[in-house]
């Protein structure tokens, strides 16, 4: 590890994540999440945030399958290869506790569909990453809420990075209070 040479600093798993991408987008919470509501512990968008990256499907139009539901429900024939998801809300059950149990299985099913459609994830499996990434996201959110962390990252950004790479970026979202 120490002193070894790599070809480029951009060969990190965060290669697709410019630490400055956030500066190009608005500071509006992407899913209208309010900390005062029970959404405080909602998992963020499952890596499909389109902020600053054209390879991800853009958010749905407001009022039309917006939020997590809308993003998961994007047409499957987009160039990103993202599959369509069942039009069931992941966010609602998770937050309200009503029918909470299906929330994770639905997400896992979506991952299975990705595999069927030959979607190749950078990491071994986004499903495999989900559990531990979600743990850390919850932890991060407990500590930092929706605040900006290192280089403008927020917990949900780190969650998305974790989903992709399987590695929580502690250098951007330290799991300790500042």
């Amino acid at each position: 590890m120490q002193g070894s040479i790599r070809s480029s600093p951009m060969n990190s798993p965060w290669e697709q994540w410019s630490p400055y991408w956030w500066q190009t987008v608005t500071a509006v919470p992407p899913f209208g999440m309010s900390f005062e509501s029970s959404s405080a512990y909602a998992p963020p968008n499952d890596g499909s945030s389109s902020q600053g990256r054209s390879t991800w499907p853009p958010p749905a139009a407001p009022g039309v399958n917006s939020g997590i539901l809308g993003q998961l429900g994007q047409p499957a024939n987009r160039s990103s290869g993202y599959p369509s998801a069942k039009p069931t809300s992941l966010l609602g059950p998770f937050l309200t506790g009503v029918g909470r149990a299906p929330a994770i299985p639905n997400g896992l099913q979506a991952e299975t569909e990705m595999g069927v459609s030959n979607y190749v994830t950078p990491a071994q499996s986004r499903s495999d990453n989900r559990a531990h990434c979600l743990d850390r996201y919850v932890h991060c959110h407990d500590l930092h809420s929706f605040g900006q962390l290192i280089n403008g990252k927020r917990c949900q950004d780190c969650y998305n990075m974790c989903l992709h790479s399987g590695i929580w970026p502690d250098n951007y979202c330290p799991l300790r209070p500042f």
Binding site: R100, L134, D135, D142, C162
Partner: protein, 136 residues
Amino acid sequence: MLERRHYELLAKYESSESIDFDANELAIVCGVLNLHFTDFTEARLPEYRNSIVQAIHEQNKVLTELSEYLNLDNQGLRVEALRYVVQNIAKIKSPFMLDSIVGTVSHRADSPLNYGRGRRSAVVVERLATVDRTEG
């Protein structure tokens, strides 16, 4: 404990932005990551950055692997969680890693200082149980 400026430096040297050579900054970053460069020359800046990026990646990876601590802690197995950290303490190789793991361990899920934790615990416990049922 590390300060925010240390993390900002890590992010700076990991980014794709071009940066000016600064031996003092490099010394701080390499110290945080426990990289043993004794002196710094401008010509070797790319090498330093490569090593920094790789170290951050590898150390983050180990820290993520240690998230088993969180799994145990979220299940209310506090002592077992701490024992897990003790058993794996040798994996902590740098101030950066130590800072991260100490912060994680010291953040008590049920601390009254941490708002909303009670509600979170119930959610997490149920979610973990759901995942276990699904994947088991």
